[in-house]
C-alpha cells in the first residue's frame, strides 16, 4: 500500500507550483503579509531566542501548532520527489519507532483540531481513521502497529507535513538525533548527522559555541515538558526557491549562487526562514523538532517598507563569519546594493510585525 497523493481538491487555496526546474513558486500577497520575518531589530547575532510555542495572532504562522499554508500540496509533491531520488533523507534508528508514533499522534491530533476542513481523525481504541483531504488520503490503521502503515510512522506522517522533522532520544544528559525526515534543509546532512548528540551535530556552527549558546540551549531543552512546546527562528539565504538545499546536492545548486545580477536579484534571492518548534513526546520521552522553512523573495519582502529597511541593515552589518556559514558572503555586497534602494534611513519600530 503506497501513500498515493491525489491532490486536486481545494485548488483555489493550495497552489500548483514548483520548487525545482522552472521554479514557479511565489507567495500570494496574503502569504507575504504573514511571512515570519525573523529580525525584530536592525542587527543580528546568534542567541538561544526560544519562547513558548503558544497560539499566536489569528492568520499568523503562529496561529496553530503546525502551520499549513498555500504551499502545502506543492511541498509534499516536492518531498516525494526528493525521497524517490535519495531515500537516505529519511532515517530512523531502530529504537525510535515509538517516538515516531508519538509524532504521528501529535500531528494528526493537532491538524484535525486546527484544520477540520482538511483533516479528520477518529479513533475507536487503537483503530484509527485518518483523512487528509488536500492530499486525497483516507486511511484506517492500527495505532502502534507498523504493519498497518505503508511506511514507518515518522515517515508516514512527515510525508504529509510541511517542514523537516528530527526526533531526539534523551540519554546520558544529552539529546541524540536518532531519526529524521530532512528534505528542505539549510545545507546539513541527516545521513551524516543521524546518531549524533546535541553538541556533535552543532559542531560546525561558528561563534555560538564560544558564546555558550549550545550549553544553555541544551540545559533548557532537557527541561522541556510534555504539553509545553517552545519555538525559535533560524534563517539563511537561498538563490531560487529551492527547498532541497542539501549538501548531497550542493554540486547541483552551488553554481546558482553565481547567477545573481542587480536585475534578477529581487526575484531570485530568497530569505529562508525556519520556524523551529520543539515538543516533548509522551510515550518515548523523546523530543520532536520541527523545522519549517518559509521562502520569501527579496522583491516580495520589500513590499513591506519596514522589512526592506531592516533587511538591508541586517545584511549590511552582519558578522562575516555568520554570512560565510550561512553561505551568502560572496553575494552579500550585491544584496546590500539591491536592498539599499529600499532603505531610506528612517527608524524602524521594534519587533518583527509588518506594521501594515
Amino acid at each position: 500500500m503506497a501513500l498515493d497523493i491525489k491532490p486536486g481538491a481545494f485548488a483555489d487555496f493550495f497552489k500548483d507550483e514548483t520548487f525545482r526546474d522552472d521554479f514557479t513558486f511565489k507567495n500570494s500577497p496574503a502569504a507575504i503579509r504573514r511571512f515570519p520575518f525573523p529580525f525584530d531589530r536592525d542587527d543580528y547575532m546568534y542567541s538561544v531566542n526560544m519562547e513558548p510555542h503558544t497560539p499566536g495572532k489569528p492568520g499568523s504562522v503562529f496561529e496553530n501548532t503546525f502551520d499549513v499554508d498555500e504551499h502545502y500540496v506543492a511541498e509534499m509533491i516536492d518531498r516525494a520527489k526528493v525521497l524517490a531520488e535519495d531515500p537516505l533523507r529519511c532515517q530512523s534508528l531502530p529504537h525510535m519507532t515509538l517516538a515516531g508514533w508519538d509524532l504521528l499522534e501529535l500531528i494528526m491530533e493537532s491538524n484535525a483540531r486546527d484544520y477540520p476542513q482538511w483533516f479528520s481523525l477518529s479513533k475507536s481504541g487503537n483503530q484509527w481513521h485518518w483523512i487528509n483531504r488536500p492530499l486525497g488520503i483516507d486511511h484506517r490503521f492500527t495505532f502502534l502497529d507498523e504493519s498497518t502503515l505503508p511506511y514507518g510512522p515518522m515517515e508516514y506522517i512527515s510525508r504529509q507535513m510541511q517542514g523537516d522533522f528530527s526526533l531526539q532520544d534523551e540519554r546520558e544528559g544529552s539529546l541524540w538525533m536518532d531519526a529524521g525526515m530532512v528534505t528542505t534543509q539549510a545545507d546539513w546532512s541527516l545521513d551524516f548527522d543521524v546518531g549524533m548528540n546535541f553538541m556533535e551535530w552543532h559542531a560546525p556552527v561558528p561563534l555560538a559555541h564560544e558564546k555558550h549558546v549550545f550549553d544553555r540551549a541544551l540545559k533548557f531543552l532537557l527541561k522541556l515538558q510534555h504539553g509545553s512546546p517552545v519555538r525559535r527562528f533560524n534563517w539563511t539565504m537561498t538563490v531560487n526557491p529551492l527547498l532541497d538545499t542539501s549538501p548531497e546536492n550542493y554540486p547541483k545548486w552551488g553554481p546558482t549562487k553565481t547567477s545573481l545580477t542587480q536585475e534578477n536579484l529581487g526575484h531570485k534571492q530568497h530569505l529562508r526562514v525556519e520556524l523551529q518548534a520543539l515538543f516533548r513526546l509522551p510515550r518515548s520521552n523523546a523530543i520532536a523538532f520541527s523545522i519549517r522553512a518559509y521562502l520569501g523573495k527579496f522583491e516580495e519582502l520589500v513590499t513591506v517598507p519596514k522589512w526592506g529597511r531592516r533587511l538591508h541593515r541586517v545584511v549590511r552589518d552582519i558578522h562575516p563569519d555568520i554570512a560565510a556559514y550561512k553561505g551568502f558572503l560572496r553575494n552579500r555586497h550585491m544584496m546590500v546594493e539591491w536592498l539599499a534602494q529600499h532603505d531610506d534611513g528612517a527608524p524602524t519600530t521594534p519587533g518583527f510585525w509588518p506594521d501594515l
Partner: protein, 205 residues
C-alpha cells in the same frame, strides 16, 4: 613514538586520552601502527599485567604509513594475538569476538583515527556505550573521509582538498566527524565555481 598533539578543534571531533588499565573479566585490545606503543604503555602501567594478559585478546594491523610493530605486541604474551594485514580485514574477526563479549569486558583502542572509529563502531553496534571504550591516538593523522555527495569513503586522506576515490569530485575535509560512519565529512570545494580548485595542501600525515 610521540603522542600526537592536535590543533584546537570542534565539538564533534573525538577527544583522546591515554589508555589506563581497568579491572575486567576480558580485555579486547585493537590497535594499528604506532598504537602498539600505547598498548605497551598500558601494560607497563598495569598493577598486575600477568593477570590482565591472561584474559587479553590483541588484534593489530600495520599503520597507513607502513609502521608494523606486530612482533612487539606478539611478544607481550597475551592469551590471543592476531595480526591483520589491514583494518578492513580485521573487522569480521572483531565482530565475531564481540558476539561473546559481556558486561565486564574492557575495550582499548589505539592508533589512527580510522582504526579507532571503525573499531568503536563495531563495539557500539553490539550495545556497549561509547563511554565503555578507551581510545588513545598514536601515529598517523591521515583521515577517513566520507563524500557527502556520493557517500563513498576514501581511506587515508592526506591532503586538503583531495579527489573522492569513488565519484572523483574535489572535496575539502570539513572538521565534522560522525561516529556512526567513523569518518569525517568531505564536501565539494568547487561546487560554486566548477574547476576552481585550490592547490592541495598536506594537512594529515
Amino acid at each position: 613514538m610521540t603522542k600526537t598533539a592536535f590543533p584546537p578543534s570542534i565539538k564533534s571531533r573525538p577527544v583522546y586520552a591515554d589508555l589506563v588499565a581497568r579491572p575486567g573479566t576480558y580485555h579486547l585490545v585493537i590497535a594499528d601502527g604506532e598504537g602498539a606503543g600505547a598498548v605497551v604503555d598500558l601494560l607497563a602501567g598495569a598493577a598486575e599485567p600477568a593477570v590482565m594478559l591472561a584474559v587479553m585478546h590483541v588484534v593489530y594491523a600495520p599503520g597507513p604509513n607502513g609502521t608494523d610493530e606486530a612482533a612487539v605486541l606478539q611478544a607481550l604474551g597475551a592469551a590471543q594475538f592476531y595480526r591483520a594485514p589491514t583494518i578492513a580485514a580485521m573487522l569480521p574477526r572483531i565482530a565475531r569476538v564481540l558476539l561473546d563479549a559481556h558486561m565486564g569486558t574492557q575495550f582499548y583502542l589505539a592508533g589512527t583515527e580510522g582504526l579507532i572509529g571503525q573499531a568503536e563502531r563495531e563495539i557500539m553496534a553490539t550495545g556497549f556505550p561509547h563511554t565503555a571504550i578507551q581510545k588513545e591516538h598514536r601515529g598517523s593523522t591521515v583521515r577517513r573521509v566520507q563524500c557527502v555527495h556520493c557517500k563513498g569513503i576514501t581511506e587515508s586522506v592526506r591532503t586538503d582538498p583531495f579527489a573522492c576515490s569513488h565519484c572523483g569530485l574535489n572535496l575539502f575535509v570539513r572538521d565534522h566527524y560522525s561516529r556512526r560512519i567513523a569518518a569525517f565529512q568531505g564536501v565539494n570545494i568547487d561546487a560554486e565555481d566548477p574547476g576552481l580548485v585550490p592547490a592541495a595542501v598536506e594537512r594529515f600525515k
